[in-house]
């Protein structure tokens, strides 16, 4: 369900190209997305889909010699693409908070926890040392860390994985940014901790009305947390829609294959469903045709659009290419046409 809210981020025709040798290859190819307040937008895809690159592009942390970002990322009255560094630095941490995947690696092993959280405050607020310390203790409490004064003085390796991730979240929300990007925030954690972290994120959102971009490959996490979903494959968006649309009426063959490969506790199958083939490499990706076609070779070429574009198959539900109309799984009889809903 779409929640009403102000528009925070408007991404239009975003391309991020990486340099290999002397040429540039798009890792993110023409992405269009919006993020609103109070909304969780999940970006789903495998490794190599470009989802992490997308996150890095939004926060502008690519190495300029190796990467080129074109298009528009509109925030407030600024376009983040091509923004000069000093202004971008003011936005990072203050307007956009980022939560990274591996909390142990994401924290400086030689710096105390308190200092690492306080660092954000140093550069974005005018608080003095005492006030900063107070705020850090507040934050530690807010993210559910017991005994904040003790943890303040500890080092990252002294905390458990879940606690570290909470610290990373504390760093991200320290300046109360309206946009939070969480890149695989639960992948490195145990299942039980995953649930706690997701709850924490939702709670923070309730308190701050921020918009969260959640990057993940885990459909379970998506189902639990997201409001809107964007599915990425080989650098492109292949399907976008509400979480309901994606799970109840998955349309693009990739989305459908992903859902099919999720292990079901109540299924009778002995084997898990596997998608044929492998994800294309950066160079292999650079084609104008339907990039998923190779993974569903039993679907005839004519079913695919020559130069795929996004088609609206429902209110705010878009799918790339026309192959969805003729798609069936290998073990389904050919005559089964996927019935597309209109809403």
């Amino acid at each position: 369900m779409d929640k009403p809210g102000d528009l925070l981020l408007d991404i239009q025709h975003l391309h991020t190209a990486f340099r290999v040798g002397d040429d540039f290859y798009d890792a993110v190819d023409d992405v269009n997305l919006t993020l609103k307040k109070d909304e969780v937008l999940a970006i789903v895809g495998e490794s190599g889909s470009g989802k992490s690159t997308l996150a890095t592009s939004i926060i502008g942390l690519h190495n300029p010699t190796n990467a080129k970002v074109t298009g528009d990322i509109l925030y407030s009255d600024l376009n983040l693409v091509g923004l000069n560094e000093p202004i971008y630095n003011r936005i990072r941490g203050n307007d956009i908070g980022m939560i990274f995947q591996d909390p142990l690696a994401a924290l400086n092993p030689l710096m105390r926890i308190g200092d690492q959280i306080a660092e954000t405050l140093v550069y974005h607020t005018k608080l003095n040392k005492e006030d900063r310390e107070k705020r850090v203790l507040e934050l530690l409490d807010q993210v559910g860390i017991p005994n904040p004064p003790r943890v303040f003085r500890q080092y990252p390796h002294e905390l458990s994985g879940g606690m570290r991730q909470r610290v990373v979240i504390a760093i991200a929300i320290a300046c109360k940014p309206p946009i939070i990007i969480a890149d695989e925030p639960t992948t490195a954690l145990d299942v039980t901790i995953q649930a706690q972290i997701l709850d924490l994120l939702k709670q923070i959102q309730k308190e701050t009305h921020s918009g969260i971009i959640l990057i993940t490959h885990d459909l379970g996490v998506v189902a639990e947390t997201a409001d809107r979903v964007a599915v990425m494959y080989a650098g492109q968006l292949v399907e976008t829609g509400s979480v309901y649309d994606i799970f109840q009426h998955p349309t693009h063959p990739y989305t459908r294959s992903l859902l099919r490969s999720m292990p079901q506790a109540d299924s009778d199958d002995d084997e898990l469903y596997v998608i044929d083939g492998v994800v294309p490499t950066l160079k292999e990706m650079q084609v104008d045709t339907c990039r998923f076609a190779k993974r569903i070779p039993w679907i005839p070429e004519e079913a695919h659009e020559a130069h795929p574009t996004m088609h609206e198959v429902g209110p705010n539900h878009f799918v790339q290419c026309t192959c969805y109309k003729h798609f069936h799984f290998r073990d389904e009889p050919e005559s089964t046409l996927t019935a597309q809903t209109e809403g």
């Binding site: 926060i59 942390l61 630095n89 030689l110 990373v168």
Partner: protein, 321 residues
């Protein structure tokens, strides 16, 4: 942190014991009496006489007895007598050890003064000509065998250009405390510079790759994502994390220099432990050799200890809480 340090010191105890055992057995392989250095034994004597004297000197006693007697003597400061110089070994070593230690410390100082800026430059400007030049220098120097480097340096700067003295640790003509001090330094400059140049290579490479690696680390990315200005990211996160392990190198550098004193002191005829060792080898002065080997070994262990202690001070992950 103290627990870690104490633990580390305790580990050294068995190491010292093992070292002493090794030296003891090596000493037993040496002809004559390497423990006390009495000149009573001589190859000219016939076997019976040799046996008798050996018995008198305690050389036929059971090995453990000999070992503990030797250790006991050492702890009392008695290292035996030198064959060649006819003075107590400990006097000789004390004189020379000072020279070696001063030279090594001077070298370490120069090493860090040169290596740290170069390493930081190479790491920060990775891929540029600066980095290329510094890396090339590091590769080249490390490849050349040390003593050739010293020799060519001595020849060029000592003999050909006459900039520095070519032998000794102090000028005989120096009179008065200040003059003596400066004379000592003057004699140390060339060997210290040359040996520090060699030592810099390891630190430069380590620092450089440390900076390069840390630049790519996730925590650096986190710092940037916080909006921390790039210069501070470099100083506070990348540089600091790369420098701290280098501090621990100090112990290893000192160890390396003391071990290498054998070569450098011979090239420069510098009267230190290394030269004493070679001279004793050439004059079959086994008591000195035995004690020196033990001393060198001890200093190696101490150097390692120093490195480990610094490391535990600097890196919180190593500490046992």
């Amino acid at each position: 942190m103290w627990k870690t340090i104490i633990r580390r010191v305790l580990i050294m105890v068995p190491q010292i014991i093992i070292l002493s055992l090794i030296v003891f057995f090596l000493a037993k392989l040496m002809p004559g009496d390497p423990f006390t250095g009495s000149g009573k034994l001589s190859p000219q004597m016939d076997l019976n006489q040799i046996q008798a004297i050996k018995k008198e000197l305690g050389l036929l006693d059971p090995l453990p007895v000999q070992y503990f007697r030797w250790i006991g003597n050492i702890l009392h400061g008695d290292l035996g007598m030198s064959y060649a110089y006819k003075v107590p070994v400990i006097n000789l070593i004390a004189e020379r050890a000072g020279n070696t230690i001063w030279l090594s410390l001077f070298s370490v100082l120069l090493t860090y003064l040169i290596a740290v800026p170069l390493g930081v430059l190479a790491g920060r400007y990775q891929g540029t000509h600066i980095d290329g030049g510094i890396s090339f220098y590091a590769f080249a120097i490390i490849a050349i065998p040390g003593f050739v480097f010293y020799l060519l340096g001595l020849w060029l700067f000592g003999y050909q250009l006459g900039w520095f003295p070519t032998t000794g640790s102090i000028s005989i003509a120096a009179d008065g405390l200040l003059a003596k001090f400066f004379s000592r330094i003057y004699h140390m400059i060339l060997p210290a510079i040359l040996s520090s140049v060699i030592s810099t290579t390891g630190i430069i490479q380590y620092l450089r790759s440390g900076i390069i690696d840390n630049t790519q680390e996730d925590f650096t990315r986190t710092a940037r994502a916080k909006g921390v200005p790039e210069r501070i990211v470099f100083d506070r996160h990348i540089l600091r994390n790369s420098l701290l392990p280098i501090a621990a190198f100090m112990g290893n550098t000192i160890t390396g220099l003391i071990g290498g004193s054998v070569f450098i002191e011979n090239v420069f005829s510098y009267p230190g432990m290394g030269k004493l060792f070679i001279d004793s080898m050439n004059s079959n002065d086994y008591p000195i050799i035995t004690s020196l080997t033990l001393l060198f070994g001890l200093m190696t262990l101490l150097g390692n200890l120093l490195s480990d202690i610094i490391m535990s001070i600097v890196d919180p992950r190593i500490r046992i809480e």
